[in-house]
Symmetry: C4
Subunit: 289 residues, 4 copies
Amino acid sequence: MTGTWRGRAAAVATLTFDVDAETPVLAHGRRYARHAMTMSHQAYGPEVGVPRLLDMLDELGVPATFFVPGWVAEQRPGLAARIAERGHEVAHHSYSHRAPTSMGEGEERADFERGLEVFARQGVEISGHRAAMWEATWLTSELVAEHGLLYDSSLMADDRPYRISTGAGEIVELPVHWSLDDWEQYAFLPQPHVGSVIEEPEKAERMWRAELDAMRHYGCLFNLTSHPFLTGRPARSLALRRLVEYALNCGDVEFLRCRDVATRAAGDATLVPRELEPPSVDPGTYPRE
Amino acid sequence: MTGTWRGRAAAVATLTFDVDAETPVLAHGRRYARHAMTMSHQAYGPEVGVPRLLDMLDELGVPATFFVPGWVAEQRPGLAARIAERGHEVAHHSYSHRAPTSMGEGEERADFERGLEVFARQGVEISGHRAAMWEATWLTSELVAEHGLLYDSSLMADDRPYRISTGAGEIVELPVHWSLDDWEQYAFLPQPHVGSVIEEPEKAERMWRAELDAMRHYGCLFNLTSHPFLTGRPARSLALRRLVEYALNCGDVEFLRCRDVATRAAGDATLVPRELEPPSVDPGTYPRE
Amino acid sequence: MTGTWRGRAAAVATLTFDVDAETPVLAHGRRYARHAMTMSHQAYGPEVGVPRLLDMLDELGVPATFFVPGWVAEQRPGLAARIAERGHEVAHHSYSHRAPTSMGEGEERADFERGLEVFARQGVEISGHRAAMWEATWLTSELVAEHGLLYDSSLMADDRPYRISTGAGEIVELPVHWSLDDWEQYAFLPQPHVGSVIEEPEKAERMWRAELDAMRHYGCLFNLTSHPFLTGRPARSLALRRLVEYALNCGDVEFLRCRDVATRAAGDATLVPRELEPPSVDPGTYPRE
Amino acid sequence: MTGTWRGRAAAVATLTFDVDAETPVLAHGRRYARHAMTMSHQAYGPEVGVPRLLDMLDELGVPATFFVPGWVAEQRPGLAARIAERGHEVAHHSYSHRAPTSMGEGEERADFERGLEVFARQGVEISGHRAAMWEATWLTSELVAEHGLLYDSSLMADDRPYRISTGAGEIVELPVHWSLDDWEQYAFLPQPHVGSVIEEPEKAERMWRAELDAMRHYGCLFNLTSHPFLTGRPARSLALRRLVEYALNCGDVEFLRCRDVATRAAGDATLVPRELEPPSVDPGTYPRE
């Protein structure tokens, strides 16, 4: 494949939905399974949010990528397949949604592979990965390459796709950012304590539209992360819809699934592969462990 | 009863007021009873907020539901009866306002029944329940059914009423949500530490109006939770009034007491009863207790 | 004195400035005296904020009340006198700005009296008191009465002045509220950790104007609390000035010093004295100490 | 040099960029070096933000000051020189970005000198200093004077430059403030926990424009602090650009590098040198250590 990752578009947009359901709460402690309200708050995502968003995407005629933890796909058989059948991409979002940075290397690998096995058993084709909480380690991109996936979408070193050279081969990184995430705008739970004030959907819409416009100016990847338990709520869905309609009206924004951007970026000779390396820190300079 | 829960309305609105008074603070620790300012901050709810809101509801001609902890009804005899006399519903909001998730099963049951006894002694008819802090356990809906109540209003698995099948019979759930709650917008206390920034009433009004509009689009239950110690303040009352006036002008929003929505939903054959079940979690996947 | 506290005004406005300087930080721990930046942040209040605000009040022609901790008056001799010479009221704001709720009764009394002695030595006449952090105990209003002061301004049980009957005589309460305070909108420090996001002055101005309008509707006391180290900053001063100009243009808002409102309220026979009492809590209901 | 620091301008503006890269996170604990996403989030600053901002400054034709920790200059050889070659000032921002208030005097001195040595080795001329996290101690300004630097920019006791007399000679302070910092508006990280809600660039732009206007009114130093890992993002860069364009259109705002303002202030006889002194606190008044 030749050409540049962006083609003729001023900016490329990837709508991504992290179908976390109960997992981010259970990762705080399995005792939260006792909390019926909290569980119901999370279940809203796959049960109400996903169908609503799928219908909306149909109406808008744009494709999206759904990052699903293996545990969620396992607990709700048929969920991942239904998403794929609607023409969207299903991608790997860990098994348990525990942050890789909270695990040892063996644990991270086991969780990664357990997730992949769920999708293999369900016959869902996987091309890419996003770390739980975006909390990738330096091992993460290597695991992605080693298991033959095309891309990762957890890092933030750029606002355009970049190629990463790992010991196990090359992958593409589709960078994310906190300012293009619905979590910081909408999430609120008292136990476990999540979020502070809850923002208006109109504020998020305005902020993301300004970012999209700036990314059209600079030629970036507008990689938006939404959570069905958050953005699946009525007014937030409609705000997302208005944002997509705005982007479509711009005429220079192309909506793609992550795997399609990654395929393009992998073949874009203008992108020079980078090698990732942790900064070297010594206890003399940074005494706090 | 036949027909659907929503009738011909695009959306049904339930104005609910949680008359918590001192209880959410005392639930943090009874030492706060020493804090005269904090106690006065909470007392404003029943003493200034409730009369102001009752007058406003009269002027608007809309009915509402007041969830009252038993402890509050006991400390302020006549409060619950006065609310009921104005044509509004009084509903059960625990005895002490301690979160069910912080109690064992025996404790939760005792607190639930102690609350009901207060209302029985005061001759106030109770049809529904809302868990303190919305922090229901899996036992909560069973307690509601077992004691012959019609509905609960603490869970978040949908944005329309749903029927729940429990071991003790069926109830209706009138779901709530953080984004339709004045607490996250307005609450602030340094000790115990509550809230972060304080939002403008106009922002809350705008956000709730957008949610109402979206719920008219999707056909939902607009179940708004306000606290008299918060929304009873001058500018916040007037913002709520403007919101209700807006809804009335829409022409397709019906205002009901919770018990009336629940009665309709209980008889709505299009709603299939759900069985609630905690997710099964194992320590291998989620090692943190 | 006869007549009602409000006279013919729709609302009465009291501009109050808490000249805390370094004290709220030192109350977190005297180790912060080592933090040169934090100390400079607080010193801005009396050194830059107070002169700027005094000039602004002159230009606007409105009187105000400055609550000054005794420690601050002591460290900066002449500060309290200069404020009083400009026609404003100086009032008692504790000695050390430690919260009364964090002290035993003996400690609270000692701190209260030590503050009064500073003003006595400086020949500054004191008529009223505001608790540090507004964190009054049930003893506080008694101390105010016992020392012959006219009013306290720390409680929140109403939005109009109220009369309090204490064992040591009667006082007037001029209630405050978090939503009429600049701290929650503007304060930020990393160590000690204070605040979250910093709001625009225009947002605070809009919120306070809406509250003023609502208080004109309901006939309340618009008792605004500002801190010179916060509101003394350039854009915030100008926002406060626009707010006052708006109020003056309303034509039905009267600006008074706290002592003048208190004198009126003390003689307002329509206000029935209240007796304050802590709620009685038992460990059976609230087991957490 | 004679004349006043402000010349004929209504306000002087200094655009300052703190090129912290990984250092503020590593100062929380060197274990964060394992967090690949967090490291990538910080690396965005020097790698994407700085080049973008340098181009933008060229287009706007305004000079700026870049505060760089020695560790960052060392890890990315050529970074500081490239900034200086574009006509901007590079200034000293500690070696490790650990807060001086968290170190003993010996440690603070060692870190200060280690930073200066990096710039000396790289041939980058240094005239001024800003403390990491602005967390200066009372020793900091003395270190600045002792090492022959012209100014410090970490304190907040004024909104105009001020002269400080230290035991080691005189320096100029160019005061900063939380409300003129992009960190409180934009920063967000879950581990280490940083920030709460993420604000719109338009809100920050509006707030800073209002401050600039007020500072033109009062004749102040508009000393804006931005971080390339935050403000280097697309929509935030464009918001900063609009702010600068607004200021240029005012016609009475002068953009200068910090060292130029400091040189002017050092020669401004209307500014009387101040001696800094910690407040004296005793354990009787402030018992908490």
